[in-house]
């Protein structure tokens, strides 16, 4: 069994065991087993990085077996510089999320932990597949555990949120399914991504395919104006669910753009790049402003996610290597930072059971250790140099200025909004006098919460100070992708 298969199936196997055997009267055993599973799953991804060859853009750790002969579908896995870090990120976030749900979840613990483990395996699968249908299977299968996570352990309006999440994303994916079948027919019976990348396509087909993929990926990213599901879902999802959603699931969409939309329909991508850039800028600027007026912390962070993902898509569609790497770096950074932001909100929510900013104030007086972490993550969220948030945004803005000064200018202005809404929220929640009685009774974070936040803080700091390991991995693949996209596929 190859390393990638191991990375996919280890968490799923642990998840299935938990689902099958776990009972609520052995909750503690279940938790430890889940943690063991998550840590094992993370450890098996580490050799991927250490054995990765950064000098080539080719797929590495390739596994290729026949899976369904009737459709010529292959169990075809491999990673390149674009996908490698997301495999590690997913496995890492999964460990953190398991720690985050430790004492919080008391009902049906095995199902909660099992769902997260299975979800993490499926998401790793999305990043690793080189076969169109296998991609779709993993991509869609992630909906099932997430739907249950939101619906079972979510907030008061969880059912609405669960349905909105499932149906909204399913609508997009179903159009992608038709696109995949179309490509399969057009290519004479192949689901192989490499074949699709090399296949010439006329202008109409490219446009149709581009928009079919757009329907699936833009909803997932989410890009403005199909972002409306995200705030609703984030608000109602349990903390762990929000963290995984923001940290990993949104990346599935952005990753899809790089793996499908751009290389399969390069001419359409160039043709519609203006629209994509416009939508990204609206996300960055307008949604940033929307974030500023939110009363609910989770909603605020959700809107800030949309704005940050706007940077990612902006970086992709200016077709400059700096922008594309910047977008990728921003995706990873956002994975750490947004995960951390949601987990911080979760720490407060577990104690007070409110997400309203107005319910807090002066938290620093009672929870100094926690406030220090929160400040650090807030700084990362507004892109302070030295944190992960800075690197990606800076690269994208530089690339945008190179491409067109005014686009760069508009994107850069968003840094101000980002700082404004994040710091204003920080001020209202953590600083100032204690205005609510329940804030006086707060206890500072325990060692479990400390560990979880410290893990993320270390990652954010490392990436901010020394981003070279991240960019080094990407360079060859990004250059190769840009070279591919620059060549027209019209015959």
């Amino acid at each position: 069994m190859g390393l990638l298969s191991l990375a996919i199936w280890t968490p799923i196997a642990f998840g299935v065991v938990l689902l099958a055997l776990g009972r609520d009267d052995q909750a503690q055993t279940v938790r430890w087993l889940a943690l063991l599973g998550a840590v094992c799953s993370f450890l098996v991804t580490l050799p991927l990085y250490s054995q990765f060859n950064t000098s080539t853009a080719a797929m590495q750790f390739v596994e290729n077996f026949s899976w369904i002969d009737r459709f010529n579908v292959k169990y075809h896995l491999g990673v390149d510089g674009i996908s490698l870090w997301f495999v590690l990120l997913t496995a890492f976030i999964n460990v953190v999320v398991i720690i985050a749900g430790w004492e919080v979840i008391t009902r049906r613990v095995n199902q909660y932990m099992g769902a997260f483990l299975i979800l993490s395996g499926l998401m790793i699968g999305v990043f690793c597949t080189l076969d169109g249908l296998l991609f779709y299977v993993f991509f869609e299968a992630t909906l099932i555990p997430m739907y249950l996570i939101i619906g079972i352990w979510g907030g008061p309006n969880k059912i609405y949120a669960a349905f909105k999440f499932f149906l909204y994303t399913l609508l997009g994916s179903l159009l992608m399914l038709v696109a995949l079948i179309f490509l399969y027919t057009k290519s004479g019976g192949s689901f192989d991504l490499a074949v699709w990348h090399a296949m010439p396509l006329d202008r109409t087909s490219q446009t149709l395919l581009f928009f079919a993929f757009f329907a699936a990926f833009a909803v997932k990213v989410p890009m403005w104006p199909v972002h409306t599901w995200l705030p609703d879902v984030h608000v109602e999802a349990p903390t762990g669910g929000s963290a995984v959603l923001a940290a990993i699931m949104l990346k599935l969409g952005a990753y899809g753009f790089l793996r499908f939309s751009l290389p399969i329909a390069p001419d359409a991508a160039h043709e519609w790049a203006g629209l994509m850039i416009a939508l990204s800028l609206i996300a960055v600027v307008y949604v940033g402003l929307v974030a500023m007026v939110q009363q609910d912390m989770k909603k605020l962070v959700a809107y800030s996610s949309v704005a940050h993902m706007g940077f990612v898509t902006l970086g992709f569609f200016i077709f400059i290597d700096l922008g594309m790497s910047g977008g990728l770096v921003q995706m990873i950074a956002h994975g750490f930072v947004s995960g951390a932001m949601f987990l911080s909100i979760g720490v407060l929510y577990d104690r007070v059971h409110s997400r309203e900013i107005a319910s807090y104030g002066g938290v620093v007086n009672t929870m100094p250790k926690f406030a220090a972490f929160a400040l650090f993550f807030a700084m990362a969220n507004c892109g302070l140099p030295g944190t992960a948030g800075f690197v990606g945004e800076w690269m994208v803005i530089l690339a945008a200025v190179k491409f067109n000064f005014w686009i760069g200018f508009a994107a850069a202005s968003a840094l101000i909004f980002g700082a404004a809404y994040t710091l204003w929220m920080f001020k209202r929640v953590y600083l100032g006098p204690v205005t609510n009685d329940h804030v006086k009774e707060l206890t500072d974070i325990n060692s479990r919460e400390f560990l979880m936040l410290a893990l993320l803080a270390a990652a954010v700091l490392w990436m901010g100070v020394y981003p070279k390991p991240f960019t080094d991995v990407m360079d060859a693949s990004v250059a190769q992708l840009l070279k591919h996209v620059a060549i027209s596929k019209l015959n």
Binding site: L19, I68, D69, F71, I144, I152, F163, L177, V178
Partner: protein, 496 residues
């Protein structure tokens, strides 16, 4: 004198016939309320028959018997094998339910089931219009009686009446169409009819006139819009065990009948019937999915879901022939429909199995609300039900997804611009479908249970249900084998 080949072609059906009579006699001496002995004998018989069918299928010969009246080919043998297994599973799930409701006072539940299975077998093997019709009548007459088995229950009796009246009308349609074909071609033999029509000597108008009635009759039996009216009422009204008996295995026979009549017999008229099927399937997808949203009764919801699923099957059947140039496309299309029907029956069995399990003595688990909090009462059964519903909704990695994929791929591959539009329509309809399936999952997983009572079930039900649910998932992860099986069966039938 009847030759040896004829016997080989039908010997499993003969075993079925003989054993049905033996079991009916044997049952006379049985007093126990659960009819354990009858049950065991029936299951043994069906097990042996299923094995014989599988053996015939694996040998892969195509045998014509009794002067071309019946045919035994790979497709038929597999379908008969799966139908036999489906009836077995139905009996396992249905026995406790039936016993609680006084339906096991006599052994009719078992003998009628065997006779309906015999009807299916005859339908599937028929190579002659009359044989097919006879099989159909044997199946439906047994089914009418099965629905009315709970004779002191007003809803069940009403359902039986409805089923009988509408079913008789559908049979009339079919018979009328068959007589038109006979009049036009001078033969009841399907092979001869095919040759006669291919020769181009027969007036097209007469043929199409007969075809309309044949297709209407088939649509009645499959439950395609606008001939679907009986499905929701009968599904809801019949005792749940019987609902499964008429909603499960007979679909396989109806598919076989469609193949025999439309493909083996009337393929030269494909251009005509493809258009009819297109209207039927679009209507079924639309009405089935939209009407299912409004239902509060699970059985009724599953009835409308069946209608929409049959729409997909018809999509597979109609995307077969494209200007007759590619045999692979044709085989792919029919095999996708076959795969769809088989997996549909598999999924239906498990989902009704859970409903039957939850229906305790004096309590019918029929409303969606009755499933509330099932996950807290039993994570296992909730899991089986969830897997089935997601499979029906076509969410990967469950088997229903590959069924939909196969059909859609065949549809797109048939290469007509309109078919791409139909494919988009079909996926949008399955989005609506996803909504009502998810709603049931929501009730099971997110709502609080109304009762905390334990779910008691005999060991045989539990074991079969677990295997059934697991198969939906396992076939979803490894669908290659079954797809290949359907592919080779259809290719043999088409003779390519």
């Amino acid at each position: 004198m009847i030759d040896k080949i004829s016997w080989i072609a039908v010997y499993p059906d003969m075993v079925l016939l003989v054993m049905a009579c033996v079991i009916a006699l044997l049952d006379l001496g049985i007093k126990s309320p659960m009819r354990g002995t009858t049950y065991v004998f029936t299951l043994l018989t069906l097990g042996v028959v299923a094995y014989m069918q599988a053996d015939l299928a694996l040998r892969g010969d195509t045998l014509y018997g009794f002067g071309n009246m019946v045919v035994s080919d790979t497709m038929g043998a597999w379908l008969k094998c799966f139908a036999t297994i489906a009836v077995m599973v139905t009996l396992v799930y249905g026995r406790p339910y039936s016993s609680h409701r006084g339906m096991l006072r006599g052994g009719e539940f078992f003998t009628l089931s065997i006779f309906s299975l015999l009807g299916m077998s005859v339908m599937i093997s028929g190579n002659n219009l009359l044989v097919i019709y006879m099989g159909l009548e044997l199946l439906t007459l047994s089914s009418y009686a099965l629905v009315a088995l709970r004779r002191d229950n007003a809803t069940a009796t009403e359902a039986a009446m409805k089923y009988f009246v509408l079913g008789a009308m559908a049979s009339g349609f079919l018979l009328y169409g068959m007589s038109m074909l006979y009049g036009a071609t001078g033969s009841l033999d399907i092979t001869t009819i095919f040759k006669a029509i291919s020769s181009g000597q027969i007036r097209h108008q007469v043929l199409v006139f007969g075809l309309v009635f044949i297709v209407s009759g088939l649509a009645f039996k499959l439950g395609a819009v606008p001939f679907h009216m009986w499905i929701p009422d009968v599904y809801q009204g019949a005792p749940t065990a019987i609902t499964l008996m008429i909603g499960g295995a007979p679909k396989l026979a109806a598919f076989a009948m469609t193949m025999r009549l439309l493909v083996e017999g009337l393929l030269p008229l494909a251009v005509d019937w493809q258009q009819m099927l297109l209207m039927l399937s679009v209507g079924s997808l639309l009405v089935g999915n939209l009407a299912a949203i409004a239902q509060t009764n699970v059985k009724r919801m599953l009835a409308f879901s069946t209608i929409s699923q049959m729409g997909f099957v018809l999509l597979g059947v109609l995307s077969g022939v494209v200007s007759g140039d590619s045999a692979t496309y044709t085989a792919n299309a029919y095999s996708s429909a076959m795969f769809y029907v088989i997996t549909y029956v598999l999924t239906t069995l498990a989902s009704f199995g859970v409903l039957l399990l939850l229906s305790q003595e004096g309590f019918e688990s029929e409303e969606i609300a009755d499933l509330a909090g099932l996950n807290q009462r039993s994570p296992l059964y909730a899991g089986v039900m969830a897997v089935c519903l997601l499979s029906l909704a076509g969410i990967p990695p469950l088997v229903g997804f590959y069924a939909k994929l196969a059909v859609l791929q065949a549809l797109v591959a048939s290469g007509q611009g309109m078919h791409l539009g139909i494919a988009v329509f079909a996926v949008l309809m399955s989005l609506i479908g996803a909504f009502y399936y998810l709603r049931v999952i929501k009730v099971m997983y997110f709502d609080a249970p109304i009762t905390a009572s334990n779910i008691v079930a005999p060991l045989d039900v539990r074991v079969v249900l677990c295997i059934n649910g697991a198969l939906v998932l396992v076939l979803g992860l490894l669908p290659g084998g079954l797809l290949a099986l359907c592919g080779s069966a259809i290719r043999k039938m088409l003779g390519t």
